[in-house]
Structure formats: C-alpha cells, structure tokens
C-alpha cells in the first residue's frame, strides 16, 4: 500500500528529474533536491531504524544535522559503505542504497525489540551494576555486550575516495547562511573585507527562505522573496566566497576553525571518480561571525519517540522546502507560537491538520487567530499524556495541564493521527561558540543559554544569539554588525518589518502524565534511549554534576551529541535537584559538531604518505640487493640481506660470522652528524659530554656519553676533532634531531657567552663502514694513497683523504669490536664509494650487513644501544660505564644528579650480561628477571634488554638490567616464561675480546 505524499512543488525540488534509490532493498523514487528523509517521507515511510538500547522502532524526527534517529548505513558491504549517516542530510542520487541499523533480521521485525519489554530491568547504569559480579565472569559477558554495542558497521575495505586538506585565511568567516548570515556576509563584503560564508546545507537562506506568509514581511515583500533577492545579490560580490555543504566541525582558539566541505556525496557514484570527496578546510579568520541559528526543542512526554513524531519545524520544512506531507492526519503539539507557522504552511499546501494541542492558556496571537479562522480545533492548556502505535503513531491521549504544570487534570481525550509535530521552543546552537571557549549566560524569560563572554574576536548573531523572531533578527543584526565591524551604517538600518510572532512560551521540561511516573517512558535522548526516569534515578543515586549524570545515563552521548534533548536533561535535573539552570551550566560541547569521516581527518596522508620516510644515498643498492628494511625513526634502514631462502636468523648468523672472520660493510649514513665550530667548541663539548675533551688532539676521535640534567643517559656517539676549533659529532640515528635541539637550547639560553656554531649535516654525508680483519686491505684498496699503518692511523683517529677526486673523511672507529673504518663522503658520492668498497672487497668475501647484525656484533662486545639497553632511568654508573665520567671536570650536564640520594642507591637496576645455562636457548627481549620463583608476589628484579645467538661465540648472549646486578656476578637468576623457567647466570656484559685485540689488530 504505497502512498504518495508529495504535495505542491517544494522550494528545492525538481520534479522533472526523477531519481531511484533503494532503502532496505526496496526501490523507491524521489526527485532531485530531496534528502533521503524527504524522499522516504514522500513514500510514507517513517520507520527507519531501531533505538540503541531498547530497539524501539524509530522514525525521522528532524530535517537537519541534529537528527538522532534516522541514521542509516549507506552502501552496505561495499568499500564506500558508511555508518551513521543522517538521512536528513544525505541528498539522494541515482543508485543510492541505504539500510537501517541496529536491527536484526529487519527493521520491521527486530529480535532486539525484546529489550523494550525487558526495559524495567534495564535502568540507567544497568551494565555497570549487573556485570560487575562476579568479576571473573566479565570475559564471558564482554563478548555479548560488545556484539550488541555500536550502531552501524564500519567499512572493512580500503576507502577508494580522495580527501584533501586546505588552508584558508580570511578577514571574516561567517558560519551559517540563514537570514542573519546572509545580511552579515553582504555587509562585511561590501565594506571591503575578504569574507567567507559557509553553510552546511546545499542551499542558502536557512528557514526564512521558505517563509511565505503575509505575517512576515520585509519592505512589503514576503520575507522569503526578500531574502531570495539578497542571496542573488551577494552571489555577485567579489570579496565574498560562499561554500555550501560545508559544515564547521571545530572552533579552536585564535579563530582557527576546521570545516568539512562535502564535494561529491550528492553525486551518483559513477560521477565521483577522480574527484575529491571531502575537503578539510583549516580556516584562520581575523573575525568570526557565528550565525548558526537554533534547533527546535522537542517536548518530553510519555512515549514521545514513536515513528511519526517529528519536530514541528521539520514538518514545515518538509512541506515548504521539499513539498512533502509527513502525514494525512496531522496533529501539532506546542508550548509556543512557532507550531502555528507550521500550521499555516500546511494549510497553504492543503495538508490536513486534525488539531493543535497548546500547553498555553489563552494567547493573543495573530497566527493563532488565522489558524482558528480555518476551523482547526485548538486544545488550549492541554498536554499530550501518552501516545500509541508501535511502528507508527496512531493515537494520542490529551488532558488538561494543571496551573503549575506539574500534573494533569480533567478527563482524557483520545485523538487519532498519523503524524504528531512537537514544538518546545528553540535552543540557540551555541556549540561552536562554547567550543571556542565562550561563556554562556542563562536567559530566564525563555529558558535559553545565550552567548555572554567572547574569548576571541567573534560575534554571534541571529537565533544562535537568542534572537528568534524576524523583527529581532532584522533590527539587532545590523546594529551589532555596525559595532563589531566598526562601520557607520548598513543598508539594513531602516527596513520596514512586520512580524507577527507572539513570544510567549509555557516551559515545562517534563510534561506530566496520568500514569505513575515509574510506568512512563519519556525520552530525553532518543538515540541512546535515556529517559526522564533514568535521569531522576541518577539523581536519587547521588549523582549531582551534570557531567556525571550525562555519563551515567548516556544522555547526549550518541552520534547526535544530544542536540535535541540536552536542555531537557538539564531542566529535569534543575527541577528535581532544586538547582538553578544558570548555575548548573551545560555539559561541555566538544568538536566535531557533526561527525567527520576518518578520510577527512587524514586527508592525503595515507599509505606511503602517512609519514615522511628518509632514505640514505645508498638505499637503491640495498633494494637491488634484496635487503629487508626496518624503520628507525623516519629512516628506512637495511635490516638484513637474505640470500636465497634464508630467514632472518640464518642471514644474520651468516653476516655476523663474515664480519668477524673477514669483512662486513654497513651503511651508517643515518647516524646523526652535527658540525661544531667556534673558539669555545672544546669547552662546549666538556659541558655536554661526561668525559673531558680539551686534551683531544686534532685528528683524534673519542666516544662520548651525553646525559640529561637528571643524570640519565640521553645519547652517545663518537666525536672527531677535525681542527683546533672544529669538531664533528655523531649521534644515534633516532636521537639526532633531539640532540641538535638540546645543544642549541643550552647554547642559546644557558651559555650564550660561548663562541660555538652548530650545523646539522646528517643528510650532507654518506657513511660507509667497513669492518673485520680484512677491512684494512679493502679500504686501502679503495684509497691507495693513504698511509694505513697502525702508527700513522691508529684506532680512534681520523684522516682526510681522496678517492679519485672525491674528498672524504676516514675515521678508524668501531661499533663492532672489529678493526674498522668509516668513510664519510658528500652524500651524492655515497653509492659509488659503497660500490668501490664492494669491488675491492670481492676477494675477501665482503658481506653487506644490516642493523640486526650490527646489533648482534655490538652486543657481543657489550656496547650499549641508547634506547634499547637504556630507558631514561639509567645513569652511566648503572651501565657500569664509570670510566667515561670525568672526576676532574667541575661540571657537565647531569653531573650533580649522579650523586643524588636516589642515583647512588646500591640496588638500582644495573646493566649486566646474562648467559643461559643452555647455550642454545635464546631469551626474549623484555622478559622479566627474578631470583626466587616461589616468593609470592614474585619480586621482579629487572628485564632482558638485548638478546641474540652469537655465531662467533657459539652460544646465546644477552644484556639485561637487574637490581643490584653489579654485585651479582656469577649468580643464578631465573627468566620465567609462559611455558617454562629459563636459568641464567649473571656475567660480564663484554662477551668477546675484552682486551681489544681485534680493534687494534
């Protein structure tokens, strides 16, 4: 029984352009200009979803972004699927497929509906109260709770669409293109200001654009026609940029705003290819004018959530804008005049109105007189006490409201209907204003929060500032703009206005029923099923703060963030607790105002563009030679070079053996390099490193350890004295930028008197490290002119050299414990020098090795890796590196901290070597270390920091930190693992060549 509820052509509907779409598998038709909501209503479909907790049937309630119930899943199971899309916002396009959420097997027959019958058992805090005991059962409950949680389904395939970010700078940003926003845009742009006007809907003009009644006139024209002309004029203004379908999500400090511009969601899928879907606009505005309007309040009465119950303003919008009747037997229920505007529109369109229920007694209003002239029955001083109709409202009960509004009196009248419009007055949309840090004040007259204190250069105008009637808007908007923009006058200063609205309102937050309160279901949050009863329960249970009541009852925590019902929640708390609304305050409005897609947030930063990655000049060679890579900071470093079918372990064992037995080659270009020059360079190094630098001869290298002021190891590396006043410092790969920052900080702030200049040269040099017993033969083959004798070129020294015409710096330094050279050349020669070394090393089985082998080799030698064997709680003393801490120097960064009462404790965690009793057993890095397995609770002494199987020593080796480990040499400890306990012995952390014979060989 399909009905067509299309009435006269709506404002934005193109009836010559028919569009087909699918809803829950059935094909329907609408017209260009329709939203999914208006098209469904035209097909007489109200039931679109099920509520979150009780699975009650729910319908379309609003016509805008505040919609709590009509949220759907688009294109289920495709890569473009999107959950929780508001049917009131999505414009229909050919091929649109939408389906209901939170129901199974279907929206018409939903098993979860049983929750509605069980609802007396499901009060606020049900989950907190029920699933706490016994605690061990949580894992069993959790499965079912998680399954029932959430509304739509998130996509499982990669998003095929393109998203972008864009910065916009403007003099004035105007949010909202209703009548006040349009006026502000024209005034600002005409006064020479670069103006941006954004509107979340596809069309300009807000609700005034379809205001077409003799009761609202501007300069003797219908307000709608007057505004239409204004819109046509502002479209020609050069200073003004207008963006529709653009919703401001966040308003941050310093007038920085984020907006989402929706570019393709209204197009048929086949027209979206290669187009940007959403743009995230990052707007920095000198001035911001907020004209976000207001949201109509529902009324809170028993069973106020049935499909067919809509906001009265939504019914008007559907009729005037989209040419759709929401029902054939309409009843309006109101406490103020705006429902009569809806009534007049319906009368104009020939849509039947059964009755109007008005909370107020006799009111002197031109709008009411006009409605009465049309013989429409108005029940004055009445309230709705209950409704019926499971999947669509079919009856309401009404009774007279007592003088104090707290109870109902007289006899009950039953009226039948298929649609009920409710109007509880208006709530200014102050969300963005408060996000920006603005403070609200409470206006007692009509019980609204309005902007009070502006935190930045901004202004709120129109309904979001509490000006609800046409005459207030037209008079106050130009006045406040004259002040705000500091101009003499506007073209709107002498408008002729006639506006008939009577401002009286009878505000009752929770309307009474003849039922006992405990039996009523008066919904405050429609999406999360929070009722007035839940709020009162929370108060009875001792919750007082509005923020606590919100979280306990989940009021305002749905995807709509309670845009409709939050005020009522506050009102009910205020009435119940006897607190004043103004003192209660509101809950915090947080960004985003309406949900953003993840695509919008990440923009182009997806896949390989997610983060920058840095490649060494030799990277291509590693790729060609099938290296596996690991990420070190932003660097891609060669990890190991598997041959044929080698796994990582096999490759690393082979590489490590080759490096010790003949020669290995490593790309060390990623190490941080800082060029240090100036007459005070030596003194500077004395202050930043723990050891002494003044006596380091030119041409020599020295290992340095850098601490934080708290005495903890921060970074390490070798620094070479290139000249009297010239050093080159190397840092760890990951620490380079931070070390540079720290050195600059001290130079600029603590020691500005020092003559020192720092330059980061990490990217300027490529570093090729050749190690192993045959390294000298190989490097001397590459640089034949250089004297490689140990006398002239000993360990820890440096020489300038040339490879052909290429200048290079050669350091004889070692991180592996082998005889080893590092060749530094200008970055773009890196690959050629690497290849020369490979060529020269051919006869020596020169083996490229990656970071994993580097780690293994240095662990054999007991060299630490800052960040792996240290964790910002390790002093040099804890690392058993006392030798590097100068006793003579008066001061260096962190020195004083090395003898604080805490850092001299004997039982600090200290670095030790660990040898497993079974030499083939490899420990897991991060595993805990204990002494007594039977003690309860087990005392954790420390953990394993590095662990490998050493092919050179033919046994498993590990480093770890252990409480008081320094004095535990030879002691047995236990590593308890999931399946067994591993016995280890504390050992010296230097496992290989303690005498440094290899280094000096």
């Amino acid at each position: 029984m399909k009905k067509n509820l299309r009435v006269k052509t709506g404002k934005v509907i193109d009836e010559t352009y028919r569009i087909s779409f699918k809803f829950n598998g059935t094909t329907y038709y609408g017209f260009k200009g329709d939203t999914l909501a208006s098209a469904l209503l035209a097909n007489d479909i109200h039931l679109v979803g099920r509520s979150f907790k009780y699975h009650r049937p729910r319908g379309i309630m609003t016509a805008g972004s505040e919609e709590p119930n009509a949220i759907v899943q688009l294109h289920n199971k495709s890569s473009r699927t999107e959950p929780n899309v508001r049917a009131t916002e999505i414009e229909i396009y050919e091929g649109l497929e939408a389906s209901s959420q939170n129901c199974w097997p279907s929206v018409n027959f939903d098993i979860g509906g049983i929750n509605n019958l069980l609802s007396p058992l499901l009060p606020a805090g049900f989950y907190y109260k029920t699933f706490m005991w016994p605690a061990s059962f949580w894992e069993k409950y959790e499965y079912f709770i998680r399954r029932s949680a959430g509304l739509g389904k998130s996509p499982t395939k990669p998003d095929p669409d393109i998203y972008e970010h864009k910065y916009i700078h403007c003099d004035v940003l105007i949010i909202g293109a209703g009548i006040s926003g349009i006026m502000a845009a024209k005034i600002a742009a005409k006064n020479g200001l670069k103006t941006l006007l954004v509107e979340e809907k596809p069309n300009l003009g807000g609700s005034t654009i379809y205001q077409n009644s003799d009761h609202f006139k501007i300069n003797n024209q219908n307000s709608g026609s007057w505004l239409e002309k204004e819109i046509n004029e502002i479209k020609k203004l050069k200073n003004l940029e207008i963006k529709t379908r653009t919703s401001v999500a966040a308003y941050h400090g310093y007038n920085f705003l984020l907006a989402r511009e929706n570019l393709t969601d209204h197009l048929p899928i086949n027209q979206r290819k290669n187009k940007t879907r959403h743009k995230l606009l990052k707007i920095r505005a000198k001035k911001v004018i907020t004209a976000t309007g207001s949201i109509e309040r529902p009324l809170i009465f028993d069973n106020n959530d049935r499909p067919g119950i809509l906001l009265s303003s939504a019914i008007k919008r559907f009729a005037d804008y989209f040419g759709v009747a929401c029902g054939e037997k309409n009843i309006l229920f109101t406490n103020n005049d705006s429902a009569y505007e809806t009534a007049i529109s319906l009368i104009q369109k020939g849509i039947n109105i059964e009755a109007i229920i008005d909370n107020r007694e006799e009111v002197n209003s031109k709008l009411i007189y006009e409605v009465e002239k049309n013989n429409i029955k108005i029940f004055k001083g009445y309230t709705v006490t209950d409704t019926s109709g499971y999947k669509r409202i079919n009856k309401i009960s009404i009774m007279q409201l007592s003088k104090d509004g707290q109870k109902v009196v007289g006899s009950k009248i039953i009226l039948s209907c298929d649609c009920l419009g409710v109007s509880g007055g208006w709530t200014p949309a102050v969300h963005l204003f408060t996000q920006s840090g603005g403070k609200l004040k409470f206006r007692e007259d009509d019980q609204v929060f309005i902007p009070n204190i502006y935190p930045s250069d901004q202004l709120s105008i129109g309904a979001c500032n509490g000006d609800f009637t046409l005459d207030e808007i037209l008079v106050n908007t130009p006045k406040s703009l004259i002040d705000y923009l500091n101009i003499k006058n506007t073209e709107y200063d002498n408008l002729e206005i006639s506006s008939s609205t009577n401002k009286s309102k009878r505000n009752v937050w929770l309307l009474p029923s003849d039922k006992i309160f405990g039996k009523t279901k008066s919904f405050v949050d429609y999406q999360n099923d929070a009722t007035a009863k839940d709020i009162k329960l929370a108060l009875r249970e001792g919750f007082r703060s509005i923020e606590h009541v919100k979280r306990y009852t989940t009021t305002g925590m749905g995807t709509d963030q309670g845009k409709l019902g939050n005020m009522h929640a506050l009102g009910i708390i205020s009435e119940t607790a006897g607190a004043k609304m103004g003192e209660l305050g509101t809950t915090t409005f947080r960004p985003p105002y309406t949900p953003l897609t993840f695509g919008t947030i990440v923009g182009r930063n997806v896949g390989e563009y997610f983060d920058i990655f840095r490649k060494t000049p030799i990277h291509d060679w590693h790729v060609t030679h099938k290296a596996e890579f690991e990420n070190v900071g932003q660097w891609k470093r060669a990890w190991y070079y598997p041959k044929e079918n080698e796994n990582m372990h096999e490759a690393v064992q082979r590489e490590s053996k080759a490096a010790r037995e003949s020669a290995g080659i490593l790309d060390a270009s990623t190490l941080g390099k800082i060029d240090i020059q100036g007459t005070d360079a030596s003194e500077f190094l004395n202050r930043v490193y723990t050891n002494a630098w003044s006596k380091l001869a030119v041409g020599k290298c020295r290992y340095g350890l850098m601490l934080n002021e708290d005495g903890m190891v921060y970074d390490d590396g070798v620094t070479t004295r290139l000249g009297e006043n010239h050093y080159i410092m190397t840092t760890t790969t990951g620490g380079a930028a931070n070390v540079m920052g720290k050195l600059e900080d001290y130079l600029q702030t603590e020691w500005p008197e020092l003559d020192v200049y720092l330059t980061s040269v990490t990217d300027h040099f490529a570093t090729v490290s050749v190690c192993g017993p045959n390294s000298k033969k190989i490097v001397s083959g590459v640089i034949p002119d250089l004297d490689f004798s140990d006398e002239s070129f000993p360990h820890m020294s440096f020489k300038n050299a040339k490879i052909g015409k290429i200048n290079c710096r050669v350091m004889r330094i070692s991180f592996t414990g082998e005889h080893s050279y590092e060749i530094n050349v200008q970055a773009n020669y890196g690959k050629s020098v690497w290849e020369k070394c490979m060529e020269a090393g051919k006869d020596f089985n020169i083996t490229p090795y990656g970071t994993e082998t580097m780690h293994l080799l240095r662990a054999e030698k007991g060299f630490i890796i800052v960040g792996q064997d240290t964790d910002a709680t390790m002093t040099p003393i804890d690392l058993q590196m006392d030798w590097i801490v100068s006793k003579k120097k008066y001061d260096f960064i962190g020195k004083r901290s090395l003898y604080r009462s805490d850092t001299i404790r004997e039982d600090r965690k200290q670095l030790v070597g660990l040898l497993t009793d079974n030499p083939n057993e490899i420990l897991e890095e991060g595993a805990q270390i204990v002494a007594d397995i039977n003690k309860s609770p087990i005392e954790m002494l420390g953990h394993v920091t590095s662990s490998y199987y050493s092919p050179n020593l033919k046994k498993s080796i590990a480093l770890g930190v252990v409480k008081g480990g320094k004095n535990m040499m030879g002691q047995k400890l236990i590593i308890p693992m999931e399946k067994k306990n591993i016995n280890v012995t504390v050992a010296d952390p230097v496992f290989l060549d303690k005498e440094n014979k290899r280094l000096n060989a």
Partner: protein, 91 residues
C-alpha cells in the same frame, strides 16, 4: 592553535613552534655546592599556573631561536613575547 609572534620572524602558526616549559629557571652556576633538595628544586619543581605564566618557546621549524612568552593559561592569550635574556615586559 595559537599564533605566536616570534621576535625574530613575526607571526607564525603554533605548529612551527615547540614548547619548552617554564621560563626564567636559571641553571645553577655551582651545582656541586647545592644540597640534594636545592638541586631537586632546580631539576624538578615547575609551576602550573592557571593565569599568567612565563614560558619558553622555540621556533623549531623556523629560525630555531628560543624566546620567552607570557601566556594566560586560562584562555591561551599571549600577552607578550621577548628574547632570551630580556626582562619580562609585564608582571
């Protein structure tokens, strides 16, 4: 996101800067002469004011200079910026 008026470069977005904690904490010239408590005072103790706070900022993605900022932490309004070594222009 703030706009910070770098004393060397002018107004720039906050994303170009790095915050560096409380300003005007001078590293003791003779740390060895300090007791544990005195050293801990320098090392660990920082104010966390609601209201006017003096803090260090670094134009990390710009001129890399450190400078001082006077900021009202209750509304993030920056009252003044001044170079290292200069006296605060406001109290």
């Amino acid at each position: 996101m703030f706009i910070i008026n770098c004393p060397f470069c002018g107004e720039r977005e906050q994303s170009e800067f790095k915050a560096g904690g409380e300003a005007h904490i001078i590293r003791p010239k003779q740390p060895t002469e300090l007791s544990d408590d005195q050293w801990a005072e320098y090392l660990f103790m920082r104010k966390n004011i609601k209201g006017i706070q003096f803090e260090r900022w670094n134009h990390a993605h710009g001129c890399r200079k450190w400078f001082n900022v006077v900021r009202d932490t209750s509304n993030d309004e920056i009252k003044a910026v001044y170079k290292m070594g200069e006296k605060p222009p406001v109290q």
